[in-house]
Amino acid sequence: MKEVTPILRKVAAVVLLTALTTACDSSPPPFECRDRIGCIQISAGQPIKIGVLQALSGKVAPLGEDQIRGIELSVEKHGGRLLDHPIALQTEDTGCTAEGGANAALKLIADPQTTAILGTTCSVAAASASQAMSEAGMVMISGNNSAPFLTAIAGEHAPDWHAGYFRTAPNEEHSGKTAALYAFNELGVQRVATINDGDIYTRGLTEGFEKVFTALGGKIVLSSAVHKGDKEMRPVLDAVLNAKAELLFFPLFQPEGNLLLIEARKITAFDAIHLMSDGALIESSFIKDVQSAATGMYFVGPANPEGPTVSAVANAYTAKFETPPATSYYLSAYDAAGLLLAALERVAVRSADGTLHIGRQALRDALYATRQYAGVTGVLTCDPFGDCAAPAFNVLQLQDPNKGVQGLLANVLFTYAPKKASK
């Protein structure tokens, strides 16, 4: 017994130690991704990568740059970090074309660490980028796209709708309607000619206009188009004249919009014809370019947000970029980034080693579940089609080019703010 007792003591000690070690081992089990699409794993110290797709070349580049600035202001508001991880923006140029949007989206999607995309500037780029993004299981929020084709038309899924696409810019399905209502009811015109440039944005606007105007009892005497890059506008203006139109609705981008306006002003017959465009030309560069040619011209565009929050952001804009904002569209970009970062905060799971786990489907669900988000552009509630902004459109008229965009925005002739269609 004398020999056995020490051995038993040692064995008992080992057993006790093992039991204590086991009991004290409270390390949590490793994270298990149960997301239907998959999870993004962001190790401690690694950045949260967010892709930015904007039009950074050509005449529309100022629009894209404003979007980026809005995004940067939003990120900056978070101190450049989210959930103890730095936020890294990877920016790609879409060229405001479908092919540019698609290829730029590929660059972002190729990196499995890309969490989400903010963009695009142009709806035409968004259509191709949105499809690629959606197939990759990601989310994309635009602060500038307004083409109805991207979300919903008449409360139904639009042709270019893709899951995971959201926007804080209003659906311009109501922009065309607003223009038509004003033309028929306020201006009293009966014959209208429309000109688009073939992309889904301008086409969506003219089609929306035509539909409502016809329904009101008016007549679309010409439905024509120009191509991006066209410089010779006389033939199409001749067609307008031939059609005896009382109003020309031409929601074009620069420079086609500029050229067409200038050419129309060269024709005396157009003095009697109302000219109306859209938000794409509510831009200081346009006004600078056409100057007095735009005088008297009507514009239909989203209602301009106002208030102290907007002023604060605008001040931040001015301070950061040393220039006042040219348009109000950067605010939608600001809200788009804010919406995304808020959703990421809600769905991200942090494991013990500091790794963030973000479920891709969970992120989509969180965005679709956004209700009453207090954005600078207003209260945002995302519907199942991805439209988060409340539609409100104004009809503006430029009276003094020297007052610039702000003067234009201030001259509101008509406002239309319908309730959001939902399904």
């Binding site: 074309t97 540019g100 999607i109 190729a110 024509s224 066209d230 010779e232 006389r234 001749d238």
Partner: protein
């Protein structure tokens, strides 16, 4: 030197095993270290080599992807350039399809490349290129999609007949004849046509817009043109209506194609830097791996050289230590052992140190001392054991010599086919009746020539060959010198000698044979008893019948004149009846139902009497030779039965020699049966016998016949010549006389029957004399027989010789008469077997009324009453049926005379 001394001081206390283990362990450690270094170097170099290969492979794949993409783009560009020249179908086949195949190949390569990089051990920089590869792969896929879409757009635009441009041209062509009749309209049409062509060249939309404006003008002029019919106007409007949608679609397709070209340009911008970066990374990886290989080679060479040098030094030192501390001491110890081997028991080995060799030397010295002591002790032991061995040898010799079993020791020769006697004990001498000195050294087959037939030789050969002990069961050994039953146990000694231990089983075997013979005899006796019972049953009836025949025949002979021819026939009847009576008597004799009268007789006398009777019945061509020894002793026998034997044997012999005749020999002599001869037989004991021999020179018998001749009713004679009972009767008589009958016969060589009778002393032997014939009388006789046909002749005969006879067939009636006057009769003659009452019962009743009245009892067969009983009942004579009347008369007279006396 100091190091060497320290090492020696460290090693010397160690055992040899430890020193060897240490030395070999060190060498092994060096070998393992060298091997490990080599292995690690190879492993390291192989890994680097693999990385080089992988990087080179990646490079190759990236280049292949680039080449594929470049070819695909070029082919697609060629398609767009060439389809207007060579036709859409040819362009599709030559450029569009190869382009798609190229891009499919690029996609496959990029997937493979992605997989390689993901699975490989290349550096992190290459792993990080996964993102670029993803983009490359996506771009390639996108190129595939957009290129196909662009081809589809071109097809929609330019397909022969059904393409948009063809439709537009057809539309214009259809419009021309309708519209050119009016000059103004024709002018407008030309403008329209010119605008369309201008558009098709420049693809500028405003040109097509001008065409649309021309359409507006045409419609305007057409509506106001008076020279054009309404139907024609309508047709023109229809064509104009078709124009615009087609033109709008053409422009949309043109825009889309342009968009695709932009797409291709962007894609190229995307992938070009990716491939360049990948190639750069792979190149850097190759260079790094090559540097790793070079470093590994140099390191391995230095380590291995150092270890090899150290190993050489260490091996030399270990060899020197082992030589000094082990090998030289082993040599000295071997020399000491050599001296011990040559007989120098005083030699001692050197003992120094603490290792196993020292221990071995110490052990060697102890062993040498011990050997010296043992040698001295051994000599004493050998002497003592020699004495004990001699004593032991004596004990075993006694065991051998005094064994009651025969023991023979053989040495195999001729490869075990024969055996030489090595030893032979006394019991064996006694059993085999040979002397040891006479057979030692001789062959077994020489001493016992029948050993092969005996079966023992094969057993000895088998044992000699296999070494397996064997048992040779009880068998008969028989040669000219000796006969006897032997049982052998044979085994082989370790020396190879064969030992046979055997027993003489002659006495046991003889007893066994006799027991078997007795069992056969018992069986025979039971068989004969059964026949006897049968014969006894029918003998009475036969004798009654014969009595009637014989009695009536004798009466008839007496009553007819002797010269009457019928007298001869009647005599024949009487003779036949007597012969039949004799047959019945023989039958009864065979079954021992006749009484035997055993008494000492002289055989010669009986033979001579029988011959005197036989001579008359034996044909003259048969010569009778008799050889009767005067020295024959008497035998105890029934004379009548001996006579019967002679009659039967001689009659058979005479029949065997018919019709040619021959010699009938009869002899009698004394013979002696010794033990050997008796042992071969189961029927006879050793001793002196009287031999009666009857021989003939007739046809002889085959062995199969010989076996059956003693069976009752077995005969080879033709019908009417024999009953088949003759030899059966002879056999029965011989057995009753404790004799033996032997046959010597062969076909055509005659037969000899030899009968051996036990003899007795012949002093006082007398020969019985024949009875005196009797005559008639006048006494009163009561005659009773239930057979009327038998009763009548007897009554008539007795009347004829003077007696006064009262004959009755019914015993009750006779008794009634007798009771009435018991003394009116002097004699009663009664049948034994009657329906109501037997002869014995009748006699008893008669004695009741008239004690002392003599009674003669007649029976066909009766054996159940003995002489004393018969006397008590007044039965004075017992007469067997059928009885000759004169013999009955003699009996009656004899009884009456005896009664009177």
């Amino acid at each position: 030197m100091r190091l060497r001394q320290r090492l020696s001081a460290y090693l010397n206390p160690m055992s040899i095993t430890t020193r060897y283990a240490l030395g070999i362990g060190l060498l092994l450690t060096l070998i393992v270290t060298v091997s490990l270094t080599g292995y690690l170097s190879i492993f390291y170099v192989r890994n680097a080599d693999r990385d080089i290969n992988l990087s080179t492979e990646i490079q190759g794949m990236v280049l292949a992807m680039d080449r594929g993409m470049e070819r695909a783009r070029r082919l697609l560009a060629d398609f767009h350039l060439q389809y207007t020249t060579i036709g859409l179908a040819a362009a599709h086949e030559q450029y569009a399809q190869p382009s798609v195949r190229q891009i499919a190949q690029v996609i496959t390569i990029s997937r493979e490349l992605k997989s390689r990089i993901k699975q490989s051990r290349v550096r992190a920089t290459l792993h990080e290129s996964q993102v670029d590869l993803n983009l490359y792969l996506s771009s390639a896929k996108r190129f595939a999609d957009t290129s196909i879409q662009s081809v589809e757009l071109v097809t929609e635009l330019a397909a022969p007949d059904r393409g948009l441009e063809a439709q537009l041209k057809r539309n214009l062509d259809d419009l021309r004849p309708l519209i050119t009749s009016d000059l103004h309209l024709a002018d407008l049409y030309n403008q329209l046509y010119a605008h369309v062509q201008a558009y098709q060249i420049s693809r500028k939309r405003y040109l097509m817009q001008q065409a649309f404006n021309s359409l507006f003008d045409i419609r305007k002029v057409l509506n106001s043109a008076p020279g054009i019919a309404v139907d024609q106007k309508q047709a023109i409007h229809t064509l104009l209506d078709r124009f615009k949608p087609t033109a709008e679609r053409i422009m949309a397709v043109d825009v889309a194609i342009k968009s695709k070209f932009n797409d291709f340009a962007i894609q190229e911008q995307v992938v070009a830097p990716i491939s360049a970066a990948l190639i750069g990374l792979a190149n850097a990886e190759v260079q790094r791996s090559q540097a790793r290989i070079a470093r590994a080679n140099i390191t391995a060479i230095i380590i291995m050289a150092a270890i090899t040098l150290m190993g050489l030094v260490l091996a030399t030192y270990i060899a020197r230590v082992l030589n000094h501390s082990i090998t030289q001491r082993v040599v000295r110890l071997t020399a000491t052992a050599g001296e011990l081997r040559t007989g120098n028991l005083t030699v001692l080995a050197e003992e120094s140190g603490q290792d196993e060799l020292t221990e071995l030397a110490s052990t060697f010295n102890m062993m040498a001392t011990r050997i010296r002591s043992l040698v001295n002790h051994l000599e004493n032991e050998v002497e003592q054991q020699t004495v004990e061995l001699a004593a032991s040898e004596g004990r075993y010799r006694d065991l051998f010599e005094h064994s009651t079993s025969g023991v023979a020791v053989y040495r195999p020769i001729d490869e075990g086919r024969d055996f030489i006697f090595q030893n032979f004990n006394k019991a064996a001498e006694s059993i085999d009746q040979v002397k040891r000195e006479e057979i030692i050294g001789k062959r077994l087959t020489e001493v016992f020539p029948a050993v092969k037939e005996f079966g023992l030789l094969d057993v000895l050969r088998r044992v000699a060959k296999t070494g397996q002990a064997a048992h040779h069961p009880v068998s008969l050994y028989l040669d000219g010198r000796m006969t006897g039953w032997r049982e052998n146990a044979v085994y082989r000694l370790p020396s190879g000698e064969i030992v046979a231990i055997y027993e003489d089983r002659t006495a046991e075997k003889r007893a066994e044979l006799e027991k078997a013979a007795m069992e056969r005899q018992l069986h025979q006796a039971r068989k004969l008893e059964a026949i006897g019972v049968l014969a006894g049953g029918i003998a009475h009836d036969f004798n009654n019948i014969l009595g009637i025949i014989l009695g009536n025949a004798e009466l008839a002979i007496d009553e007819i004149p002797p010269r009457n021819p019928v007298a001869e026939h009647l005599k024949e009847i009487r003779t036949a009846s007597m012969r039949a009576k004799e047959v019945i008597r023989q039958l009864l004799s065979f079954s021992r139902k006749t009484e035997q009268k055993m008494e000492p007789i002289m055989m010669i006398t009986v033979i001579e009497e029988s011959l005197s009777l036989l001579r008359a019945s034996i044909p003259a061509n048969i010569k009778i030779e008799q050889n009767l020894s005067k020295s024959c002793s008497a035998i105890v026998a029934d004379q009548t039965q001996i006579h019967q034997i002679l009659i039967n044997l001689c009659t058979n012999a005479a029949h065997a020699m018919e019709p040619g005749g021959g010699t009938l020999g009869i002899s009698a002599a004394m013979v002696h049966i010794d033990e050997t001869e008796a042992a071969a037989s189961t029927e006879i004991e050793p001793g002196t016998y009287l031999e009666l021999a009857v021989s003939d020179t007739g046809s002889g018998m085959s062995p199969s016949i010989q076996h059956r001749i003693f069976d009752p009713y077995f005969t080879t004679k033709e019908v009417g010549k024999g009953s088949g009972m003759g030899l059966a009767v002879v056999h029965g008589i011989v057995k009753n006389h404790h004799g033996v009958i032997r046959i010597e016969s062969a076909p055509q060589r005659g037969s000899t029957f030899k009968i051996l009778f036990p003899t007795v002393e012949s002093d006082g032997i007398t020969v019985a004399t024949p009875p005196i014939p009797m005559v008639g009388g006048s006494e009163r006789i009561l005659l009773i027989d239930d057979e009327a046909s038998l009763l009548k002749p007897v009554e008539k005969f007795l009347d004829s010789i003077g007696y006064r006879v009262k004959a009755f067939t019914d015993p009750a009636v006779a008794l009634d008469l007798f009771e009435a006057k018991p003394h009116q009769f002097d004699l009663v003659i009664t049948d034994m077997t009657m329906p109501q009452i037997t002869g014995v019962q009748l006699a008893e009743k008669i004695r009741h009324f008239h004690p002392g009245l003599p009674v003669i009892l007649c029976s066909g067969y009766h054996s159940a009453i003995d002489e004393e009983e018969a006397k008590k009942l007044g039965i004075r004579r017992y007469v067997t049926k059928p009885i000759r009347l004169n013999r009955l008369a003699a009996h009656i007279r004899d009884v009456l005379d005896s009664q009177a006396a």
